[in-house]
């Protein structure tokens, strides 16, 4: 045993290692990504990135059917993609334990919605543990594998951003030994979910859930903390920590298993208090079930459904008083949103799309930042892969010039995740929309993870690499062309031609992410601006490069300067300058 400071994600990886997991699979997604990046550090687990969450879960299920313990990880919206196998997996149950770690993102720190994945536990009839710190993330991971096999069911381990990314002190343990070796075992009544078999399994699922609810009433993960006073709190996950901050005198029923609920335990606890709170983030998931038991509680009548909880928000909700800070900022402050990196190959593409007045159906990735000013070149963004279908739908209902304006924009990883199906539809059903694939050879937004077209695996081993151009041609797109996004004019003309073409077409802008370490050679000598030549026309500011800074007080009407520490010499700005003011830094 040793003490370490681990994030929730690191602790889940450690827990999986200790639980004897053989296979770990995921598609990256904030805030879940580091789970697999960390399982990859333990050679006893086969860790891999799948092209999407559905495939990840299906791979995990295969390993589980072979008798191995498997861990599958994803963010909340990824769970929507994996929902199809999920809802039947609860019927088949498991051979080796299967744990699905799902990370929700209350407050939408890095997501497109704020869904509460606890509803999936109920909808898919699958038990769900929820840790409240890193120690529990480790312990519950181990526990979840044991319970998975004990109750013949896959199990959720749900975290939220503040659990996944918080670090706290963890005592690690030793890996379990004596798990059975994987093997083939035919059991069609359990693993072949045709109606005749599945009908019977449904009864088993219901029975197992009942048993587990009963069992959980006496387990230490559902724990009562007795304190004096007549206020009681039912809570789980990170909300437990906030409840302890705000109501230190209250007795607490802390739920480690949030589905199914330990009803007897809850009923016994509830009857002892005059005032009973349910403190939970997002939806009234526990609250509704407790109310359905005929128990009166205070919950979402004062606590917010939208946004994450914080100690301050819980305090204000319970006291009914707004907190007044001791110090204030009296002036309006410029915001500092994230931006595409200096030297990002996507920047020029969005500049071109803006000049072409394209209506851009966007997608999920770094390039979603193309929405931000000054580029402001994204008009829709729904979910992974949606750019393609959205473009097709618009193409169906528009006419003339409007119809030509529609361009879908998608990254290489997102295209493989779920864009390719949209492209098949585009060809099959005669859409004339244009799709731009921003191929930067990596899954960049989540921190540069490999994908099937990047040429490497999660372990960093060289792998077969999908040829995106051939892939598009193989589904029947006749007009597929590659352009160099560092060349603004070439990029603009290529997209323009394809927009005008009355057939489906794909433009692949090919240039690696500037942050890929193995491509570090693409960084060039930084540029500088000759102050004598800069007229202050602001043309170069239109690409929104963080390395170009406006000096309002320089010259008569201001001048641009390059921050040499940030500039990687990509030269997009140079192509925008009509006065030849950009030059390479000497001795740079």
């Amino acid at each position: 045993m040793s003490k370490e400071i681990l994030s929730g994600n690191e602790a889940i990886a450690r827990g999986a290692y200790e639980a004897g997991v053989k296979v770990a699979v995921a598609y990256p997604g904030t805030p879940s990504t580091e789970i697999l990046e960390n399982t990859a550090n333990y050679p006893s687990m086969d860790s891999s990135w799948a092209p999407n969450e559905k495939v990840a879960l299906e791979v995990g299920i295969g390993a589980c059917f072979g008798g191995a313990r498997s861990l599958v990880a994803m963010k909340h919206v990824g769970l929507n993609v994996a929902a199809d196998p999920l809802f039947t997996l609860s019927y088949t149950g498991v051979r080796g334990g299967l744990v699905l770690a799902v990370a929700d993102d209350p407050e939408l720190h890095s997501s497109q919605n704020e869904q509460d994945s606890r509803h999936y536990a109920r909808a898919a009839k699958m038990p769900m543990f929820e840790p409240s710190d890193s120690q529990e993330a480790l312990t519950y991971t181990r526990l979840a594998f044991e319970a998975s096999e004990q109750f013949d069911t896959p199990i959720f381990l749900r975290t939220t951003t503040r659990i996944a990314h918080s670090k706290s002190i963890v005592e690690t343990g030793e890996p379990v030994t004596g798990l059975p070796e994987p093997s083939l075992e035919r059991d069609p009544a359990k693993f072949v979910m045709l109606p005749g078999n599945a009908r019977k399994r449904h009864y088993v699922v219901e029975e197992q859930l009942e048993k587990m609810a009963e069992w959980s009433c006496s387990q230490s993960f559902n724990q009562i903390e007795e304190r004096d006073g007549d206020v009681g709190v039912i809570t789980a996950g990170v909300s437990y920590q906030y409840a302890r901050e705000v109501l230190p005198e209250a007795s607490v029923l802390k739920l480690g298993l949030v589905y199914p609920l330990p009803k007897t335990l809850i009923a016994d606890f509830a009857k002892r208090f005059k005032t009973l709170y349910v403190i939970e983030e997002l939806e009234p998931f526990i609250e509704d079930q407790v109310r359905a038991m005929g128990i009166t509680v205070i919950g979402k009548d004062c606590l917010p459904i939208c946004g994450e909880l914080t100690p301050g928000r819980v305090r204000s909700a319970i006291s009914g008083k707004e907190m007044v800070p001791a110090y204030t900022t009296e002036i309006t402050l410029p915001n500092r949103p994230p931006n595409m990196c200096p030297g990002c190959p996507h920047r020029g593409v969005f500049y071109a799309l803006k000049r072409l007045k394209a209506f851009v159906t966007g997608d999920i990735g770094c390039y979603t930042l193309g929405f931000m000013p000054p580029l402001s070149a994204m008009d829709t963004c729904v979910c992974m892969g949606a750019s393609v279908g959205n473009a097709t739908g618009l193409n169906k209902v528009l006419k003339g010039a409007d119809k030509q304006k529609v361009v879908g924009v998608i990254g290489d990883s997102t295209f493989q995740h779920s864009g390719i199906n949209g492209l098949m539809d585009m060809v099959y059903n005669g859409s004339t929309a244009t799709l731009v694939i921003l191929d930067n050879s990596i899954t960049a937004m989540t921190g540069r993870q490999e994908n099937p077209a990047s040429g490497f695996t999660l372990a960093g081993v060289e792998s077969p690499c999908i040829d995106l151009e051939q892939l598009c041609r193989s589904v029947g797109v006749k007009h597929v062309r590659k352009v160099n996004p560092w060349n603004l004019e070439e990029t603009r003309l290529a997209i323009k031609e394809e927009m005008e073409r009355e057939e489906p077409s794909v433009v692949i802008t090919e240039a690696p992410c500037i942050l890929i370490k193995r491509d570090v050679g693409q960084r060039k000598t930084p540029l500088e601006i000759d102050p004598d030549k800069c007229t202050g026309c602001k043309a170069c500011l239109k690409i929104g490069c963080p390395a170009i800074e406006w000096q309002p007080d320089a010259g008569e009407r201001g001048k641009a300067v390059v921050n040499e520490l940030l500039c990687v010499g990509c030269g997009i700005c140079d192509q925008l300058c009509a006065f030849d003011a950009y030059r390479e830094v000497k001795n740079g």
Binding site: K3, P311, P338, M372, G544, E549, W550
Partner: protein
């Protein structure tokens, strides 16, 4: 409830706040405290506002600092430090790096960077100190050691044995940059004296 001390680190993605808060948390654990630390990843590498919450004491519950309860605001950039003032509790301390980084709206000429932020902070917070991290880092021989130089300034305000700091840095800082970082740390300590 036993006293918990709250340190809020604030700055801009890419400034090394993550490493600084990792070292800080490690040191606090070595010193025998319960420690929790939280920051938001994901968007942070792309030049956006970044803050890291570090809490320590006998027993820490929430991984994020309750609003208005930061004992110390440890700022890597002026605007981000000023922005986070409402997190500071009455009578709290500020250590701030003398650095202005332009947000996109300023860099593109749509807004101006607020003036006199050092003064605005000093006017409100009596216990505030400005440190020139870049100057110290350059003196230490590597401009990329600003975060550790600033950590040295912070270390001066915390009652923790020097050898624990060194032990943590040895564990967490890449070996080839260790000596420069140790020097930056020491210069930071002296600067804040």
């Amino acid at each position: 409830m036993a006293k918990v001390t709250n340190i809020l680190l604030a700055g801009v993605g890419g400034q090394g706040i993550l490493l600084a808060s990792e070292v800080l948390s490690e040191v606090l654990m070595l010193a025998g405290y319960d420690v929790k630390k939280n920051e938001i990843h994901g968007m942070s590498q792309r030049g956006g506002s970044v803050s890291s919450h570090v809490r320590f004491g006998e027993k820490v519950y929430s991984p994020i600092i309750p609003e208005g309860e930061a004992d110390m605001l440890f700022g890597f950039e002026l605007l981000e430090t000023y922005r986070n003032l409402p997190f500071l509790k009455k009578g709290g301390q500020v250590i701030v790096n003398r650095l202005q980084l332009m947000p996109p709206s300023v860099a593109t000429g749509m807004e101006r960077y607020p003036e006199n932020l050092e003064q605005l902070i000093a006017d409100q917070v009596s216990d505030s100190q400005v440190v020139d991290g870049l100057e110290l880092a350059i003196e230490a021989g590597n401009a990329r050691t600003v975060n550790i130089a600033l950590l040295g300034a912070l270390a001066n305000k915390l009652d923790i044995e020097q050898n624990l700091w060194i032990q943590a840095m040895e564990k967490m800082v890449p070996a080839k940059f260790l000596s420069q970082n140790l020097k930056a740390f020491e210069l930071g300590r002296q600067a804040a004296n």
